[in-house]
Symmetry: C2
Subunit: 231 residues, 2 copies
DNA sequence: CGTACTATTGACGCAGATCAAGTTCCGTGG
DNA sequence: CCACGGAACTTGATCTGCGTCAATAGTACG
């Protein structure tokens, strides 16, 4: 984690002061429609997605607590994809231009933003690698480990257990599979003793085996240091 | 395009002054190894990729003239993926920290950098959508249109024709396919009268049909405005 | 010319999609 | 408290897009 000055913290606190509740399922950023406000996730999950003419859907990113949503597209242009709440959420909505100006004045905050970008990009590069070259079994193993690491970092995993609010259809649209096949691969992961599922709760039974099955290299999430906004 | 001041231009010129030639095939950024220098492509193509234990390869991004390579990972951490020259290249190599400091002093340059990020991210989101939900035929149609638009923006397309230095294996590793299947889909695109191929040169015979086949929405490349570094 | 890389074509196999029935688990209202 | 309706999940049967394997040809370069 990067050290922030008192002034930095007060900027962040001001940015986060405008809280907003969003109900699960709500599309709160629409592709193609100007929006000069951006969000930070305080509580709950969201996702960015693209719809095709014929109804196919691809989720390109998941947003967990602490993540920025649409800061630079709010600042610069029209967003080209939509964002929706996966669960009931609490977000902080802020004016992107005002925040950008404040950022420029604080070297550390600016660095923090670049970190956040670097991490987002690494996650997306790894997602491309997953969808492009991993089998469905490996893909599911990989996303479970990734979500576990990301949630742990923001204090939302206990031991080897975490809450996965995404439906199998969400996961399918994120991983480039069908919901049916995700179900089958969950069964295999259970049968192989890698994970246990109880309702929305996932327990990783063998982190080592799961990471090996996914060819998971945690480096893309770590980057030596980390920054998280929120709470 | 964004207007830059004379001071901005001189910063860029200084940044671009250190030219370097890189031979095709050279891996010039290695994942996991610290590198505090970043690059701008002046001439030629490059790609970022990830290798798996068993030899599978996924290319996550292509870099064309004018594109930044690894600025923020150079600034902040270890790169987690490698980058290689696809063709013989000329790049400008610069110190990421020095440039970052200069960036902070120039609001317009800073905005330009954010633009570049937004665009990169949009391209990656669209890549995820491609690999996850488009058929192989649609994927190939899509990348051809994307490359055409990107090259045209930097003056490297003439009419409906452009040079595609990537082998079918590069395309396969970018699109999550095999080289053999890329070859088959090229044949179909030719048979359907959408493109003509002559050596390394691609001619788009019907831009409309090609875009329709790919469900191509140019918005993700445009963002109202654009910025390009280099030449 | 021979070696190595790239592209092409065909035959065949399989991972994951599609189609079709259930089943479980809720929240809601009678 | 039970009945109902709708998500979400599960399982099986079948199909197909793309991968794999194999052979050949074109091209570029030493």
């Amino acid at each position: 984690m990067i050290d922030l000055t008192a002034a930095d913290r007060s900027i962040i606190e001001r940015m986060l002061s405008n809280r907003l509740e969003i109900a699960a399922g709500t599309v709160f950023v629409r592709g193609g429609q100007p929006l000069n406000q951006a969000h930070v996730v305080v509580q709950g999950w969201a996702y960015r997605f693209r719809m095709f003419q014929d109804g196919r859907r691809q989720i390109s990113r998941l947003f967990l607590p602490g993540d920025f949503i649409g800061f630079n597209s709010a600042l610069l242009s029209l967003p080209d994809q939509s964002a929706a709440a996966l669960t009931d959420m609490i977000v902080s909505r802020f004016d992107a231009r005002v925040f950008a100006e404040q950022l420029r004045k604080s070297p550390r905050l600016w660095l923090a933003l670049l970190w956040s970008y670097t991490r987002d990009r690494s996650i997306m590069e790894e997602r491309v690698a997953s969808i492009g070259r991993r089998t469905s079994y490996e893909r599911l193993a990989h996303i479970i480990v990734e979500l576990y690491f990301r949630l742990e970092l923001v204090g939302e995993a206990e031991g080897d257990e975490f809450v996965l609010p995404a439906t199998q259809e969400h996961l399918a649209d994120l991983l480039g599979l069908t919901n049916i096949h995700v179900s089958r691969m969950f069964r295999r992961l259970r049968q192989d003793g890698l994970v246990a599922v109880d309702g929305r709760s996932i327990t990783i039974l063998s982190r080592e085996k799961l990471m090996k099955a996914a060819d998971f290299d945690p480096q893309y999430l770590i980057h030596g240091q980390n920054i998280s906004f929120g709470q």
